[in-house]
Symmetry: C2
């Protein structure tokens, strides 16, 4: 397969845009990506668009790519709509890579775009429910509870789908506390770090800095998760332009290469294979010919603060049960040995579902080009993104890992 480079990337600031729809958000992100690449829109040869929720929120299913891209004068080229819940646009990014790596096209656009806010809040909530197999939901809830609660049984009261996801994260966090002595302060420290990073990112939805006490004192969503430990609902778009080696040399002196890409789904034999995140990372590193120790900066799927702490362990940044120690020691802060979620992550940058995957790519693209401003990781040469989406039978429906380097 051919070498593939990113030569341009752009995104909107994530946020609550009552007056802007999918078309406007797309236009801003794609225009920024084209400008970043120094490319005219006529240069695009194929477009892959990730969106998770427009069908349920706006009624626009089926051909979202065509609706948003034709509006800005992009036509004729193949357009593929893809979704994988919160990993929709990292899936789009893999497909864009594949179209170029295969030799079928030389220039591909990967776009993630999402509009979560709706005047009808029930529509936003329905979109979260669509990211699980509803028939399987009760079984999952029971399995993820910490041991001390499993006998109690009964319903968890997860009537609304978003709180259902946070209930799942909270249950997993409580289990981690019971097993390893992890504290709620350690989870809160993840949120302190990511909100601090977000304050340095002009594209972040939330740019306030919070103390540990403020994180812990914000309203309780589900013990031990307070509101500031949960990713917010938001709107936004992110775009990246991928090209073959010849085009890369033509458009830039600073290409960011795609070294590894892996997409996996969960299994019924997690205990034996280490789970889907570990499998995705392993496959991506094999493809890249690298190990986790080669990575200088990582974006990962901190839909809640405990999720990031547990991902440290699943991604082998530390041993099992040692995630709390890692955040205590500042290893994953900007300035630490391996900065994580320098963008502010889902917690502070925001999490417009289908836009998140390419927004992670955008952050690593900026970091590896040395364009990340106040949040720049000095000398970053290799970056990684990890993006998870949906849930079936107790595991992520889609986990996508990308490894990029200069």
């Amino acid at each position: 397969m051919r070498n593939v480079a990113i030569v341009g990337a752009g995104m909107t600031r994530f946020g609550k845009y009552q007056d802007r729809g999918l078309k406007e958000l797309t236009n801003e992100a794609v225009t920024a990506a084209l400008e970043s690449a120094g490319m005219d829109k006529q240069g695009l040869q194929v477009a892959i668009v990730g969106n998770a929720a427009a069908g349920l929120i706006t009624g626009q299913e089926c051909i979202r790519a065509q609706v948003v891209l034709r509006e800005m004068g992009i036509d004729k080229i193949p357009m593929v709509n893809t979704e994988n819940a919160c990993a929709s646009s990292s899936t789009a990014f893999q497909l864009a890579w594949l179209y170029v790596a295969s030799g079928m096209y030389d220039v591909a656009l990967a776009l993630g775009v999402e509009k979560m806010y709706s005047e009808d809040k029930s529509r936003t909530m329905a979109a979260f429910g669509a990211a699980v197999d509803v028939e399987q939901l009760r079984e999952i809830m029971q399995r993820l509870k910490p041991p001390s609660e499993q006998k109690a049984g009964g319903e968890s009261g997860a009537g609304k789908s978003r709180s259902m996801f946070m209930d799942l994260y909270a249950a997993a966090a409580r289990a981690h506390m019971e097993r390893y002595g992890t504290t709620k302060e350690q989870f809160a420290r993840i949120a302190v770090k990511n909100h601090n990073n977000g304050s340095l990112n002009p594209h972040a939805q939330y740019r306030e800095v919070y103390s540990l006490e403020e994180i812990l004192a914000s309203p309780m969503i589900a013990e031990p998760l307070t509101r500031l430990m949960c990713s917010p609902i938001g709107d936004g778009a992110a775009a990246a332009i991928l090209v073959n080696e010849e085009k890369a040399r033509q458009y830039t002196t600073e290409p960011v290469w795609v070294r590894g890409t892996a997409l996996v789904t969960g299994s019924d034999t997690r205990a034996e294979d280490g789970g889907e995140t570990a499998r995705a990372a392993q496959r991506a590193f094999e493809m890249a010919g690298m190990t986790p120790r080669d990575v200088n900066v990582m974006e990962m799927h901190d839909a809640s603060a405990p999720a990031e702490l547990m991902l440290y362990e699943e991604l082998d940044l530390c041993d099992e049960g040692e995630g709390g120690r890692l955040i205590d020691e500042g290893v994953t802060e900007i300035g630490g040995r391996l900065p994580v979620n320098t963008s502010g992550g889902l917690l502070a940058k925001g999490h417009p579902i289908g836009a998140t995957g390419v927004a992670q790519i955008y952050e690593i693209f900026q970091q590896l080009r040395g364009e990340a401003g106040d949040r720049q990781v000095k000398g970053a040469k290799v970056g990684m993104t990890e993006n998870g989406g949906g849930m079936v039978r107790g595991e992520a429906a889609a986990t996508v890992v990308h490894i990029l380097s200069v």
Copy 2:
């Protein structure tokens, strides 16, 4: 890129399945495809699933592939959800081809699955509305009217989305009649042919044979379209297994090769470039190193009878305005020079939106292997599928053409 072959394909009969959901339909089609290939489900390395309407009909968005495939014990492998309205699973087929052609995987599953029937009929109707850009709808209606009606202006009364699509086909049919003298009997003859073909296909939703008079006498939907000239609403699934050359030799002595694949979207300059169907076909034939004259059997997107007649012209089977003559002369019947829609097409086999693309592939797979029974085209060596989906700014949002050969 590597050579890619289809080594197995399967489908459910299309129809109205009040008691069967997406999971059951998937299981039947994928199991049939695996049996046809002589492959165990553990042999699959990546799966791409096309579905257009589950989000609006069942509330299951985002991770439909994982929900239906995990249920039948397929896990761990990459699963990609894609949609392009009525061309959803031909898009999935192109992606499956791409994963194998690129060298990333050796065995890919392409699945199309759709459940259109719902006890709540408004959900089925909403799914059709999602295949257009609703903001653009009024402009399209005006543009597609025949010249004599354009001045009248006003609303067409297309309150319901499915009738809206049939209104569009009817308007285009009336324009064709005005311009070229095409008759409603010629459109009806397409329906006679396809219902006759469907009567020979055990997987067809409708297996009745109709006379020209019966087609014309069935209830009027929108002049000149009667009900029997419109594709029905239905449920179903179709699956195909694509492999690289080495695996093809391992699994079968009768591989069906994918010679060309093209996906395009419409443009704002149709007058200059011949339209999206012509562009898709041109690209696919270039890739295959073939011309339309090499093809022995074709499946095309006869969502209405006039659509097939007009596709004869767009696909260069005859000159512009000569489609009526082609059907009159029997050229596209089984036994004619170039049989079209031997499966019964969308009109008689049925049209469960997201399942249609791979179902077309299934028909050509059977024809090229000589396994099409009473509807076998003798000596067929090369086949083609054409599948259109959705509409933006007056043209198909996605048109996909595949060329297959033994």
